[in-house]
Amino acid sequence: MNPILLLMGLLVLAYIGSFVVGERRIRGFGLPSGSEYLALGFLLGPGAFGLLDRTTLGLFDPVLHVALGWIALVIGLGFGVHRRRKTKSQHLLLGAVLSIVTGAAVAGPLWLAVTAWTDLRGDARLLLVAGTALACSETTRESVRWVTERYGAKGPLSSLVSDVARSDDVVPLCLLALCFTSGVTARLPCPMNAATWTFATLGVGVLFGGTAALIIGRDLRTDETWGTLLGISVLCTGVTARLGLSSVSAMFAMGLAIAIFSGQRQSLLAMTEPTERTVLHPVLLLAGARIDLHGASAVPLLILVVLLCRTASKGLIGLVWQAASSHARTAGPLLGLGLLSAGTLSMTVGLTYALRFPGVVGDTVLTLAAASTLFGEFVGPFALRASLRAAGEVQDPAPSPGGA
């Protein structure tokens, strides 16, 4: 396909995406995690009908790098706040712990499965398992938001779920920096170990974020601020990717640093948040198009293992949550499954892996992330709605006056 036509298609998708989140509210059409774009991309890509070939897709790699970085920046800018309200530190901690638990629950069995059913060993196996665990560790905030806004959920449990879903991104985004240290391209006079490179990745983000905060200053001038934000984002993405570091991690750190140092977090969020879905839909389409199941015989088995482990771990988390929290006690057994939704972060991790580690490792992580997103799409929102209804936080629609 002609790259210009593909670009036009992506712009149209971005256009549609911008309408879906018009006026900063999800209007109730489109799937919560945007999986329809993922599926559409898969159908168009070389894995299905082949309308998009790998060469054409490769032309859009730079755009993907920038788009993924931008998504991470927006996540960083909004981390720890929800609608002008600071997230409680306990909720932040809970989100981080839940993502670690889920990631670990996926990583262990997947390690065994990869060892048993593939030839991958050493660094490749470690990278694949770590990447998949990170991609599967989240509960996507879009889906939770979709449920709470569409059904008007209100109450302590929906608020807590919402906070957790917004807080669990920090672990995978930071640990991604560690995974990427295995492929650092920078040559320094004094070699650095993985931990130092991880801190360097996040440090670059903080340095750029601090610089951006200084430039933005106390008076937010919209034109200059857009120039500063876009410029420094693309620069940070380009520099870290060039060094072989995780640009997504650096951008998350940058967003967080800008939010902390600039004192303009709410204004910046108002500027940038509406762009997230506009960027996300084309990304999902390109991610879907990169999935190719041909010649990967073990992948269906790995998908099965990942989905089973993720479902089991989330189910277990739900049970523990019910036992520990009075608000969750009446939510019913589906609460854990309500946390199964994956999306923005999973696909960001999967795609950034596919870009950084092209070949079996990157492609498999992307495929597993996509499978997790699709499965979560069909289970998570409905389970969450049922749980919130059982907890009394979603009101059943009033019967119509003339109804039976």
């Binding site: 256009y15 790699d61 790098h65 430039i215 001038r221 500063t228 380009g238 990717a241 060094l243 500027m271």
Partner: protein, 452 residues
């Protein structure tokens, strides 16, 4: 959300911070290019885009201290970071970045057309007609003569015979009448100037595109047999040109009607629509070989004059284009061939200065004949000095059409355009400031307009 109205002008501390930030980002990029020299490619281009946007924004703020236009800041940032000075941006990245030119030029032409109000044009049609005539004919004739007079100082012209020299000089003369719509609109966007100098300059620069295309085609018909003795006169090109121009106007009108309807009835996400049009329509227009600048200019003109959406449309383009223009001008700066300029600067400077002088003279004459306002007579020439992409495009086309001239013609054109590109915007901003047309009112935003 807009905080602009409450923003205070940057103080000394803010300027120091901007300088410090520029240092920090330059240092980080310098480290990255040295630590991973072999892994540039697409990733190097990404970093370069970010750097030119940020460095362009910061440098434009810093040169504002000495009243230089933002555009000069963008160019300076590009020149300094480019492959010939500090080399933070390599040649491949510069080449990749030029892909944004089609988008930038389409936005520039759309905006330029949208600034042309029929009412204003009608009032100034006499002045515009005289100015076009003088600025085209006088500049063409004089610069042809000057080129011939300076032939001993022009390396590639020394070996040419008299007829070939005259043909080449005619080509140089036609190159000299090209202006820079991008520089004009860049200064307009920054100063938000309103007044007779701005209006007359803008209308002349935008319409000069058509004049240049026609005049160049005519000159080529005559120059071809003069430079290449084996060639004969052929008016076939002129017929094709007529079709292209008519087609461009028709396409531009259709696009303009669509845009007017969109701004009137939908309005949302103009940024994405403009991006799609900028990339998609540019590719289409280039494929069917129409004049993209003319087509987009007509589209902008239609939106302004056949709908009530002109102001909103201009603001939408400015908001969309602000980043694109930074990349466009900074890339132009990085693309400047500094070693070539160093080599050819004496003759390039002579040609540049004489062109400015001839432009001033032609402006003075046309102003007298058309009885222009004093300010237009005094400052109307300043906006016509800038040259940029259009001139370089014409030079490349001449190089391709007349391989006998070698690369010398284009090299000299690049060096001369480089000087005009740097000097022109400074002169134009100075002229607008002195003519009292620069606006000091807060910048409006799309959200501040009461759109239907």
């Amino acid at each position: 959300m807009s905080h602009d109205a409450h923003a205070t002008p940057p103080g000394i501390l803010q300027r120091l911070i901007q300088l410090l930030a520029l240092g920090v980002i330059s240092a980080v990029l310098y480290f990255a290019t040295r630590a991973a020299p072999g892994s540039g490619g697409n990733l190097g281009t990404i970093a370069s885009v970010g750097f030119v946007v940020l460095a362009g924004t910061l440098t434009s703020e810093l040169v504002g201290i000495i009243k230089l236009p933002h555009l000069t800041g963008y160019l300076l940032a590009g020149i300094i970071a480019g492959p010939h000075v500090v080399a933070l941006i390599d040649e491949r990245s510069v080449h990749d970045l030029t892909a944004i030119n089609s988008l930038a030029l389409s936005l520039i032409a759309l905006e330029g057309g949208a600034h042309l109000k029929l009412e204003t044009l009608k009032r100034g049609v006499r002045s515009l007609a005289w100015a076009s005539l003088f600025q085209s004919v006088v500049v063409l004739v004089c610069m042809t003569g000057i080129f011939v007079a300076l032939r001993n100082y022009i390396p590639f012209a020394r070996a040419l015979g008299t007829t070939a020299l005259l043909g080449t000089a005619l080509l140089w003369g036609s190159l000299a009448i090209t202006r820079s719509p991008s520089a004009t609109l860049g200064i307009l966007a920054e100063t938000r100037a309103e007044g007779p100098v701005m209006t007359s300059t803008l209308s002349l620069v935008m319409t000069s595109d058509v004049v240049v295309v026609v005049l160049l085609a005519v000159v080529m018909v005559f120059a071809r047999p003069m430079i290449d003795p084996g060639a004969t006169f052929s008016f076939g090109d002129l017929s094709d040109l007529g079709h292209d121009l008519l087609g461009s106007v028709a396409l531009g009108t259709t696009l303009g009607l669509f845009l007017a309807a969109y701004v009137r009835f939908v309005k949302a996400q103009l940024l994405l629509v403009l991006l799609a049009i900028g990339f998609g329509m540019s590719a289409l227009v280039s494929y069917i070989r129409f004049d993209s600048l003319l087509a987009f200019m007509v589209a902008g003109f239609v939106v302004q004059n056949l709908s009530s959406q002109g102001e909103a449309f201009i603001l939408a383009i400015e908001e969309t284009g602000s980043i694109v223009f930074i990349i466009f001008f900074a890339t132009a700066g990085a693309d400047l061939d500094i070693p070539l300029l160093r080599q050819l600067w004496p003759i390039a400077l002579a040609l540049s200065v004489t062109r400015a002088a001839v432009t001033w003279g032609a402006s003075h004459l046309s102003g007298k004949v058309a009885k222009d306002l004093p300010n237009v007579r005094k400052w109307g020439w300043a906006g016509l000095v800038s040259q940029a992409g259009l001139a370089l495009g014409v030079a490349s086309m001449i190089e391709r059409t007349f391989p006998q001239l070698g690369s010398g013609f284009r090299a000299l054109a690049v060096a001369t355009v480089a000087l005009n590109e740097m000097l022109g915007p400074v002169l134009f901003k100075l002229a607008l400031d002195r003519a009292g047309e620069t606006s000091h009112a807060p910048r409006p935003t799309l959200t501040s307009l009461d759109l239907p």
